[in-house]
Subunit: 484 residues, 3 copies
């Protein structure tokens, strides 16, 4: 028994081996081949992307190709696609030496995740009972990107501390859990969540935090030298921030109802995000102590600004399509900027020291907490909806009070919205704890504590072997003088 | 009297205090709360973004949701949004140590400005007399972004020399002046200005130049060490340039007439911008002297290329929707590239030395002067419009010769276009002079002459305290050898 | 005879003169003026971008402006535009000191090329026989961007080794050849090639490789110090990669049929690209040897990842609009990732050493070879098309079996597709060889072997003369301490 215990301990604490030359290719190949087989069995074009569309049009008396769903959603889809790959990728480039890992692994897991998401979401939401097939169109692509977003959020918590194989495993389970909680929240509870405050952000946030808790590294300070940012890495991170911020209206409106639904979600998100920027700046500025120098260093660490300005978009995810009214959107943004920035100042240290959650990108303040706020805002605004504001048909359309749900009242709807939020938290925390335990197995090639946040572990960098910039500069000067 | 004079002088020349820990949060909070109250009183969704759209559709016999204005304008809106936040923001990152200020303050003032613009433009253009409300939709969002663009242009002239509080004040007044001059030009004079050559660029340019004149700093050379660019900062600036350049067709077509109006504005702008690139390169290359080295350093300072290539888009702002014909667009671009590049070589030094206007980003050559050219091109092409080219109905549609203006001739229209341009110049110069005087008060926390163009004044930079890169490199090497 | 030979040799091997202060402006001015004249003679707005659209609408019973082709294609056009200027431009910024050349010359030649493309493609495809005019609309702009893409691909092979004048000459001939081969492939052979696997990528790739072969530099190793990348230059290159990758669905769907055609092309490309990422990562990881350190450097040189991940989009160019089915798209991506990455490892060294083709950006693996694969995939899937899958009308629409081609069978179509691919290869190789010979004349100002890959040759860099960063840092520190 003692031997076993000792053996286990040795097994877990042995020298870290980051060689993933075998595991990574095997995982990639096996999963990609599995995707091909499953797609072959299950996935087909839907009627709007099939060559039979010409017959569908005739049958449904559709007069123009412009009424194909493609033209309603494609511009939003491309914006969301940019958010997933450039937005999330570059947002995480603030670390001085982890740009390749941030952008590259983000690229890898998003590309895998979206394939698996098409299958999982298809099985749960749109499996045709007669043919046993899943029919996909542009809305499926958007939903797959959304699903991937949940996993990329979770990546933010463990950035720099895990191997690409761990990330792929985390994504496999993350997408699976996502599809199930999404099914429960949207289909069974019939909650509304257009921009995914609950389904995407709350789930993704707590999923990542729970994994990070299980993978707690007490000696992470050993890689402290790599944890800061440098000037240019912060500028790269601003690219990610801005593309997320600018395209968030597309995110929140991408799958809302045609017509006024998409239109209103854009207006609400646009206003909410603008309001968030001002309160974020205000709180950041207030929080800086006067330094030794007589001139005060003000405003904000770029991290605050990068992340908190986005919280407004998250917090309006659920209510984006509701008649929250323009000033309502501003109010949500106002408080969200304050709370999120406060989070960086007060809650993040608490999480790290007391709860032992090492949250590299601060996803608790950017996604988890604003997601919960979004869920609450959604529940309240749903419960407060009235026929006088929405109109009779408008109320039915907005909350989809049709079929089995045609007799549901707005108050009941508010209750189910709140229930949905609880489901997303539970799935995130419990799912993350289980997946974290799997990722703790010492077979995944994760880096040692002193090698965290360093691209060199997983990326071939030819130039690292070259002479340092200053010597190179000297050579350059010498070379120039020889030319003269 | 002498005492007073001395006292005033002391008051103005006392040690600069850049502590804005109080003023910035207060301004942000007060203004954001004011926005919420005013939005609560005045702003509502318009009929295309309201849940009552389903009734509007039935009432107006609209058969498909795709005819919601959202689908005509949303792709252009998102492009404009990228121009405002990434385009303008990154265009100004060329300074070696002012990337945070460029992108971050741009972000702050744009987020505030667009809220204030929705109110100001609403009061002047779309206040419903019956309900006393302003109804907003996607076109309002585009117009708000346009209005903000005027202030961001002005920011280019004072980049690095003002505090964020000053920028917020400048934006508050800038948006206010903008809404008034826009009302005079578009509504009273009934001039056409789809891409805002006059309303946005001429006004914004002269507004910024006038402010910069009032805030003239005779000892700015004290921060000369910070005024240059470095290799990577120029590359970041190219990101801004390209996103402005690529999306300018969307800028000029975003609020033109549905159908052929938007289509034609895109073609014209696309061609004009392409033509501008070639003449900019030609003039830049011509202007470089042969250095001592036998190999000649050619083409251009990246500043020329960054800015002058964009001048074509500015210069076609007014005429973009007119039947200027494809070769006409090329001609405008041809001359605009020449004039703008010449401006950098000859006019900028003149402005600085003789007129004492310190124009950090060269907005005179990129916005003010091309804006005036655009106004002139617009006036001439309007006056030269004929029914044979436009068609009877086409002429009416293009110049909106309806209602009170149904008897206006194209010649008269040309005159009013020219009058509009004068209005925008007057508003810019006079407004800028007044606002500049306000900004001269020593309460706004602007930096001392020797601290201009330096992010350190307003931004917490943790990494600055760290060891310099070369020492870090050595440590890194030592660390690696220890690993062996 | 001996004298002549000697004289010729001297003529070609004389000291390189990179002074293009005369040639570059002259070429730019002459060509731009020629464009203006030719546009004046030939180019007019088409009926959807002309003010007479109001009459066209009435005549054709078009009920809504939304049916203007503009609204079907503009979002895709803007994405393609971003690919051309940011995508191709930044993809080539990986070299440590050639970012200005990569982005700036890309900007220059694209701006010239698209004007010439509008003319050349107009003459071949849409010259109105009655009026002798070319009528352009948004689809023409997309086609012009596509045509330019062919030349930008070729630029990738000679990046850093040619002067801007050479690039302009290369673009002039490249666009000309492009229009001819496109006419043969699309009109005479009636092959389908929506995303241009053959027309754009195969042609562009072999055109560039043939030019690079003719311009072979045996002593290129003399500029070896400039050939590597640095950390931030690789991060910039990721911006280019990602924008190409994300917007490739727009590229492949931009000019396909309205409705299901565009919809299907997006789905296919989206899936194919995702699949490519996984196999690229797998092969890259496999290919890295274990280094001396116990930790293995894994995954990939960023070059692999940057380029090979894009190969899937190229390889699906022809078949994107076909009913290749979702799993078919995944399979194409699967093999394309493998082959392209293998190409970097095995074929690139072979090309350089044995065939003496110096391919700076590896366009053989990114464009030429995947383009050929795309042509083959297109031919096979066309030949395998059946009425049961496509539907009767769907088959006719997809392959445009109308007019002269109404009796063509899918098998014949497959043969013509294959013939089209051969045409593109022949045009690329032969055209490139001829143009390369022209570019070999010693009048174009190309850099000496030891000055390749260096922005300093053609770009004024003020900051290069400044003190090196480390000294500057010291000064900065001194300055700060003085402030205390």
């Amino acid at each position: 028994m003692g031997n076993c215990s000792q053996g286990c301990k040795d097994y877990f604490s042995r020298q870290k081996n980051t060689n993933i030359r075998l595991t990574l290719p095997v995982v990639c190949f096996v999963w990609q081949i599995a995707m091909i087989i499953l797609f072959g069995v299950f996935i087909r074009y839907d009627e709007e992307s099939d060559t039979h569309w010409v017959e569908t049009k005739a049958h449904d008396n559709i007069t123009s190709d412009i009424e194909n769903d493609f033209y309603f959603r494609y511009p939003s889809f491309q914006d969301v696609h940019v958010m997933i790959f450039v937005g999330f990728g570059f947002l995480m480039t603030f670390l001085k030496r982890y740009s390749f890992g941030a952008v590259g692994f983000n690229f890898l897991i998003a590309s895998f995740g979206l394939q698996w998401a098409l299958l999982m979401q298809g099985w749960f939401h749109s499996l045709d009972p007669q043919t046993g097939k899943i029919f996909i169109g542009v809305e499926s692509l958007i939903n797959a990107d959304f699903c991937v977003a949940g996993c990329l959020i979770a990546y933010g918590a463990v950035l720099g501390k895990v191997s690409p194989v761990q990330l792929l495993v985390m994504t496999l389970f993350g997408v699976t859990l996502f599809a199930v909680e999404e099914y429960i929240i949207l289909n069974l509870l019939h909650a509304r969540d257009a921009g995914g405050s609950m389904v995407i952000h709350t789930f993704g946030g707590y999923y990542g935090l729970a994994i990070s808790r299980v993978l707690y590294r007490p000696n992470l300070h050993q890689s402290k030298r790599m944890q800061g940012s440098v000037y240019h890495s912060d500028t790269f991170a601003m690219i990610g921030t801005l593309f997320l911020w600018m395209f968030w209206p597309s995110f929140n409106s991408a799958i809302t109802d045609h017509g006024d639904g998409q239109h209103r979600a854009v207006i609400n998100t646009y206003l909410c995000l603008a309001s968030t920027v001002l309160t974020t700046v205000a709180i950041s500025s207030l929080s800086q102590k006067t330094g030794k120098l007589d001139m005060v260093r003000i405003i904000t660490m770029s991290d605050d600004l990068s992340n908190s300005t986005l919280a407004g978009g998250v917090a309006l995810g659920t209510a984006a399509e509701f008649m929250i009214s323009p000033y309502g959107a501003l109010i949500v943004g106002f408080f969200c900027g304050i709370i999120s920035t406060m989070g960086y100042i007060f809650i993040s240290p608490f999480l790290e020291k007391t709860l032992k959650i090492q949250d590299t990108c601060g996803i608790h303040n950017l996604h988890a907490m604003p997601g919960v706020i979004g869920g609450i805002v959604g529940a309240i605004t749903a419960a407060a909806a009235s026929e006088s504001v929405y109109g009779k048909q408008g109320l039915i359309n907005t909350f989809d009070f049709t079929g089995d749900f045609k007799d549901r009242t707005v108050l009941t709807q508010g209750g189910y919205q709140a229930a949905g939020m609880c489901v997303s938290i539970v799935f995130g925390v419990v799912g993350g704890a289980i997946v974290g335990s799997i990722l703790k197995l010492p077979i995944w090639g994760d880096p040692a504590d002193e090698n965290c946040f360093d691209d060199e572990v997983y990326w071939e960098e030819e130039h690292q072997e070259s002479i340092p910039p200053i010597l190179e500069y000297n050579n350059h000067m010498i070379h120039k003088q020889q030319d003269l």
